[in-house]
């Protein structure tokens, strides 16, 4: 099909201004599903890793957490979880917080929180892996 779509009721100017449906309305829904599917094996793996580390000395914990396979699984768990958390908390905020100021402040706080927690965990794992 050529540039101008058939049955296009919006004018070119309307389209350029980016008004109307963004065509991404189901993005969060779908990404929440993708991260929940990924979360199942990752959560089981996390529980196995934590149980395997219970009661071990700090040196042993550092060695195991820093080993490539464990570190990669932990990183996947963290990154997957913070994105899943970000969508979930955003949904909760949009459901219950209706006043503009507190809504936008809590949406921002949500983003700051998940990035800070995600980065802290990821940095710790990388530091354990590279041993610096």
């Amino acid at each position: 099909m050529s540039g101008q779509r058939q049955n296009e009721l919006r004018t070119a100017a309307r389209r350029v201004r980016g008004l109307g449906a963004a065509r991404s309305g189901t993005k969060d829904f779908w990404h929440q599903r993708v991260t929940s599917v990924a979360g199942i094996p990752l959560t089981i793996a996390l529980i196995v890793i934590v149980i395997a580390l219970l009661g071990r000395s700090h040196a042993a914990v550092v060695q195991i957490l820093g080993s490539p396979l464990v570190a990669v699984i932990m990183l996947l768990f963290i990154l997957n979880s913070v994105y899943h958390m970000w969508i979930g908390m955003q949904e909760i905020i949009l459901d219950y917080v209706h006043e503009d100021k507190s809504k936008f402040l809590s949406l921002m706080a949500n983003t700051f929180f998940v990035i800070a927690v995600g980065l802290a965990c990821a940095f710790a794992i990388l530091k354990l892996s590279f041993g610096v």
């Binding site: 529980i47 395997a52 009661g55 909760i92 710790a124």
Partner: protein
């Protein structure tokens, strides 16, 4: 029609008929577990700070790690960790239930009640299994 008449005062203040809200429904297991899914999700949102503390402490050194071990060994630490384990497993099983429902399976009244009950029974039993295995791995409670 009586409701319409009663709410016929002009202006934005007039009372309009409202659709029934949550409180008129009999509490049901599926409804309760839907709320619990959201509550456990919110709890895990903040609970991940425990994981972050543990990882950062391990990366920081033996002293910081000893603090985490001390806290997890206290009664409060154990209760928080037990709650975190249950919330994690319950949210995971609840998520699996929602994924099944996303495929339009298990939507019949008896099926959805059974699935919902299964997530609750499953999460409690799995939590106990994880803790028994955990204690065995440590060589008994300390």
């Amino acid at each position: 029609m009586a409701e319409l008449k009663a709410g016929s005062a002009p202006g934005p203040q007039r009372s309009r008929p409202l659709s029934p809200h949550l409180q008129i429904y009999r509490p049901m297991l599926t409804m309760t577990m839907s709320i619990v899914h959201r509550v456990t999700g919110a709890a895990l949102y903040f609970g991940i700070l425990l994981l972050a503390w543990w990882l950062v402490a391990a990366a920081s050194g033996p002293n910081a790690y000893a603090n985490v071990e001390w806290f997890m060994g206290t009664l409060i630490g154990r209760v928080v960790l037990f709650g975190y384990t249950w919330a994690l497993l319950h949210h995971m099983l609840g998520g699996i239930r929602h994924l099944i429902w996303d495929t339009l399976h298990g939507m019949e009244p008896s099926e959805r009640e059974l699935l919902t009950l299964a997530t609750l029974v499953g999460s409690v039993s799995l939590t106990l299994v994880v803790w028994v295995v955990g204690y065995l791995a440590m060589g008994g409670p300390r």
